[in-house]
Every structure is written in C-alpha cells, then in structure tokens.
C-alpha cells in the first residue's frame, strides 16, 4: 500500500476545495437559509407537527442529506473527471499506485468536502430552529457513510462521463429527484398507501429515514434496514469500481 500516494492525492484534491472555499461555504449556507425561510417559516408555520416534531426541525436531516448527496456526487465525479479531461491522468496511470489508493485518495477527499458542507448546514440550521440530536454517534455514522457511498457513486460517474454534460446528467436526472421524493421534506407515512409502496423502492428513503431517526428517534423504516441499505449501496459501488480498474474501462486502453 502506497500511503504516501493516498496522502498526496488527498491533499491535492483538498487544495482544490480550499481554493474555492468561499463558494464551497457560502452556497450551502445561502441555499439552506432559503429553504428555512420558504419551507420552515412561510409554509411550515401552517403545517402541523410531523411525528411530534416541528416542521422546521423535521426538514433539517433531509436538507443536510440533500446537500451532502449532491455535493459528494459532484465533487467526486469532478475530481476524477478533471484529470481525464486535462490529460493529467497519465501520471496516475504510470505511478506505482493501485486502484485502491487512487479511490481512497479521491473518494476520501470528496467525502471530506461533503461532510464539511453537511456540518455547515447543520450549524446554519441551529440559527433557525431548535433541534436536539438524540443519537449523535449514529448521526455521524450515517453522515459519514452517506458521504462515502455517494462519493463512490460520483467517482464511478466521473470515470464513465465522456463530457461535462454527462457529468451533470446523473446528479440532475437521478439523484436530485430521488432525494426530493425520498422524504426529505415529508414523512413517508403522509403519502397515500400506493405511493408508500412505490417509495420503498427508492434507496434514498432508507438513508434519510435512518438519518432522521438519529435526530428525533422516529423513522419511516426500521433503523437496521437503513443500515443494511447503505451498506449494500456502498458495497455495490466498491464492486463496480474494482471492476472498472480491473478491466481498465474508460481509463486504460
């Protein structure tokens, strides 16, 4: 294991993040504040409590998940797509590193950035609503796993993408709808029975439900199932990445 290489990739990728720190920091803060103003204050004041939690507080875990998932995916996909695009990937391919080191470096950096943004949003939300986190350790565990698994997904997208449009396509067409329809802003139990069943096929439901449980102790699906779902998703992504590097798909001719 070439730890020095993992460290180098990680530091190099984080430098990209720090170069654009203001953008990285301000945009989640502003968008979160907007969500709170619109959903929490304007609309939320007319909505009753959901599962015993005020609506403004109820949407906090969903908001964090929404940002974390999209940020993790886009950071990781851009991180590996950019070297492909500008040609610096030659260096990764000719260096004494295996897929494991490349993946840990890029995915680790993308997950760190997403984690940072998630925590910024959590901090911002304290300004607007009263929340107590009932299971802080579980909260961190869910947040970390979500950052990691969606960074892995982003990494796959970055390798697959042949141009910048494709890079945006999956986050826009798949991830955002799944997150919006995955109970970010409502409880699944508020839906008609048919839609409840359909929603259960949305993997994001399990993540948001588990994450919300760590805040409020209530969940749409059992917590064990949530953990199983996220573990399965992570394993799937790791499997795909291992296959990519084994075959050299879209990387090594």
């Amino acid at each position: 294991m070439n730890f020095q290489a993992v460290k180098s990739i990680y530091i190099f990728e984080m430098a990209r993040f720090f170069r654009t720190l203001m953008q990285s920091f301000i945009s989640p803060v502003i968008s979160t504040s907007l969500y709170f103003v619109v959903f929490g204050t304007a609309i939320g004041s007319r909505i009753q409590e959901v599962e015993g939690v005020g609506y403004g507080a109820f949407i906090v875990p969903g908001l964090i998940m929404l940002s974390v998932m999209t940020q993790a995916t886009s950071n990781a996909s851009f991180g590996i797509y950019f070297p492909k695009f500008i040609g610096t990937i030659y260096e990764l391919l000719s260096a004494p590193v295996s897929f494991l080191e490349i993946t840990i470096g890029y995915v680790g950096a993308a997950a760190t950035k997403a984690m940072f943004i998630g925590l910024v949003i959590l901090g911002t939300s304290f300004l607007f609503v009263d929340i107590t986190i009932q299971h802080p350790i579980a909260m961190f565990a869910f947040l970390t796993l979500t950052c990691l698994s969606f960074s892995l997904l982003g990494f796959i997208i970055g390798i697959w993408a042949g141009n910048f449009e494709q890079l945006q396509l999956i986050p826009l067409l798949i991830i955002t709808p799944l997150v919006f329809l995955g109970g970010s802003f409502y409880s699944v139990s508020m839906l008609p029975p048919v839609w409840q069943t359909i929603t259960m096929f949305n993997p994001v439901v399990y993540l948001i439900s588990g994450f919300r449980w760590s805040f409020f102790g209530t969940a749409d699906v059992p917590i064990g199932l949530s953990l199983f779902a996220i573990a399965l998703f992570t394993a799937l992504c790791v499997g795909v990445i291992a296959w990519i590097f084994k075959t050299g798909w879209r990387i090594r001719q």
Partner: protein, 309 residues
C-alpha cells in the same frame, strides 16, 4: 552493460483493430541515451505508453529493472519518470504543489531540498509559487520534466520533449539530459528532430509502422549507413562524364564531378580515380568530401519500409 528495460515481442492492437506495435523487441542499456526516431503515427508514443503502464499490451512482455511491468508494476513503475508529449498540467495549481504531488504519488517522502535542486536546475525556482496557467509553453514543459524527476527515477522517458520549443530552451534541455546521464539516469527520448538524436543520443532506434527497423550505436550507424561523396571541382567544367572514367560511380554537379563511395570497404577507389583524372588531362581546382547525415539515412530507411508496406 546490463539492460534496464527489456521489451520482448510487444504487440499493441487498439480496440478498433489498428495495430500500433507489431512484435517489438527492444533492449535499453543502463545509463545510455537512446533516441527513438520515427514519423508521425509510427508508434513511438504507444511504445512509451505501454512500457510506462498507460496502455495495456495485447501480447508480449516488458521488464523494467528486472520487474515485470504488469505483475510487479509497483517496483517497475517506481523506477520510471515520464514526460508526456502533450502539456498535461493542472492549470490552477502552483508549480511547487504539482511537483510535490508527483513525488508523493510515487511513494516518496517529502524532500524539499531535492525538489529545490530540480526546480533550480530547470530554472523554475523563481516560478515555484506561480500558477501553472500563468507560465509560457516552454516553462510548462519544464514543469513536466520537474514532475517526472520529482521521485528520483532511474529511467526517464521523454516523449518529444522539444516539440514546439525555441532553440535556446532546446539547448537547455539537452544540457539537463546530459547532466542526468552523468548522474546515471537512463534516458529514452522520442523525437522528430534528427539533429537532436545526432546531438545527444548514444544509440538510435528507428521505428516506422509499429516496427523497430533498427537499433544501433549512433556513430556506428552513421558509419555503416553513411555514404561519402567526393566532389572534384574542375578548372574547365565538364559537360558529360568522360568515357575513360565510366567505370567509376560518378555524377555531374554544375560542371563538377561527384564521386560517391562506401567508407566501409577497404578500397575507396579515391587514389585511382584521382590518378585517372590526371591521366585524362583534367585540371582540378578543389576537392570536397561530404558524409550523409542521419536525416538522409532515416529518410531512406523509412521510405523503404513505407514503400514495401
């Protein structure tokens, strides 16, 4: 001499069916500078990319320092630095950071003193905190070399290092290469510029259509392949080749006689030619000899290959 790079029977066929390398064999000796010459699309870059692990071979084997470049890729690649043909650099990053990144990627612990030495030798030290995008084309090429040297490689591949580089910088690069050779680094460079190969290489390989046509010691190659010509300037210009000299390989050049001969034979025929000229009553004003350059050798070899194919 031990061979530090051993390429045997290497074939590379791309997915489209194009065969970029056909059963290439190449041995590179430790500490030498070998220049690979070839026209565009000859397979020079594919050969380098396959040795360095950027592309996979279809069949055949590459050993670097005795390590197989697939099964023992860590040990093999750790020895190699690569300067690619295209200027592939992260535009928004500082020079020093891209060089540090390269060193770390190859598993080497940070060594600021060594990196300073490299950057100074390439006249990049003043620019270490500049963003790559702010540098000129020639400077960017130096950054590529600095990156390739950052992990103290024993073998350096330079893929057309002086393409699009001005004369002064080209000479600077030759100095850098000469310095590396002194330090015992083996250098493999591909080039379009025959004068470059002539100036710095110990051995020359000629590659065309995915095959290595020959690899030879530069001086030996030029001697073996080199034809010499003797130009005899006459006081009274000749209009045709004199009959009594018909046995010699003569041609006319603006009224002067040009004798082409082979330097490798024991008898060049110069003595008898000059004697016969005198006997025939020609008055000579000057004599010039000329040796064919590597360029002519190269062009004739490649033309033969392309004519056959």
């Amino acid at each position: 001499m031990t061979n530090i790079v051993e390429v045997s029977n290497l074939t590379k066929r791309y997915d489209g069916g194009f065969e970029a390398l056909s059963s290439v064999d190449l041995s590179i000796e430790q500490g030498e500078i070998i220049a690979l010459l070839g026209p565009n699309g000859a397979g020079k870059t594919t050969l380098i990319s396959t040795i360095c692990g950027i592309t996979r071979s279809t069949s055949g084997e590459v050993k670097i320092g005795g390590h197989d470049n697939v099964t023992d890729f860590r040990a093999a690649r750790a020895l190699v630095g690569l300067v690619p043909q295209e200027i592939n650099l992260e535009p928004f990053e500082k020079v020093i950071n891209t060089v540090k990144f390269s060193r770390g990627l190859f598993g080497k612990a940070p060594n600021d003193a060594y990196l300073e030495k490299i950057l100074r030798s390439l006249s990049l030290w003043d620019k270490k905190d500049s963003k790559v995008m702010m540098l000129s084309g020639g400077m960017k090429r130096r950054v590529l070399i600095a990156k390739a040297l950052a992990h103290e490689p024993r073998i350096l591949f330079l893929d057309e290092p002086t393409a699009g580089v001005d004369v002064e910088l080209r000479k600077d690069m030759w100095d850098v290469v000469a310095k590396l050779k002194e330090d015992g680094v083996t250098i493999i460079l591909t080039t379009h510029y025959i004068e470059e190969a002539e100036a710095i290489a110990d051995r020359i390989g000629i590659i065309a259509k995915g095959e290595i046509l020959l690899v030879e010691d530069k001086d030996h190659l030029m001697k073996r392949m080199g034809k010499k010509s003797l130009k005899v300037e006459l006081a009274e210009p000749a209009t045709e080749i004199p009959e009594e000299l018909a046995d010699y390989n003569l041609s006319l050049d603006a009224g002067n006689l040009v004798y082409t001969y082979d330097t490798t034979t024991d008898r060049t025929g110069i003595t008898s030619l000059l004697g016969d000229l005198q006997k025939a009553g020609f008055r000579m004003t000057d004599l010039q000899t000329q040796q064919s350059s590597l360029e002519e050798i190269f062009v004739s070899l490649v033309a033969d290959k392309e004519g056959v194919a």
